[in-house]
Assembly symmetry: C2
Amino acid sequence: MAEGINTDETGELIASNKVEGTAVYDTSGERLGTISNFMVGKRSGQVEYAVLQFGGFLGLGADYYPIPWSMLTYDVDQGGYVVDLDKDVLEGAPRYASDAEPDYTEDYNQQVYTYYGVTY
Amino acid sequence: MAEGINTDETGELIASNKVEGTAVYDTSGERLGTISNFMVGKRSGQVEYAVLQFGGFLGLGADYYPIPWSMLTYDVDQGGYVVDLDKDVLEGAPRYASDAEPDYTEDYNQQVYTYYGVTY
């Protein structure tokens, strides 16, 4: 069970700093990684991505996967987020190393959303 | 200049973990405090509040002020966010202590938005 996530999970709102670090599972209950952070539209205030952190050791060598926010569902029993994605889909998904963050251009965003079959 | 904020300020998106800790100024350039975190709609993915942290010492005794996201403007020159609020307005504003987070009910949200004169 996640310790942090429930603390600020009040009503319909969640606290960004409690979501960061929360575990992410696939639909079979296998742990995929954790949520590193959100990417938020500066003007709109809309969360476009949850960035998932997979692999590596103590953060070294980990890969970062921006996932459309709408793909994540919070599961109270597991104390984490669930995404309906197979590991082999994730293996081919857009990702970056911690020192090579993308520019999140229109083209890049289109590419990510298209990969997951989500309308941008 | 903020060191973190620009790192992930790519294109139209900002990273939640870079905004946390960023300074907040009033329109005269006076430093009011820092951004503690966001409050995000679970289903909508919409950022409803930036929570500002004012006062206290090393986080002890600080007060937390949820501010409607739309009230914040990022200022590149100052390397922080600017809100068009007088200190005396903030002194009467809805706030909470770190161990007394609100439930962000419909009533509470209405109260905060009404205080700032922003449509909820």
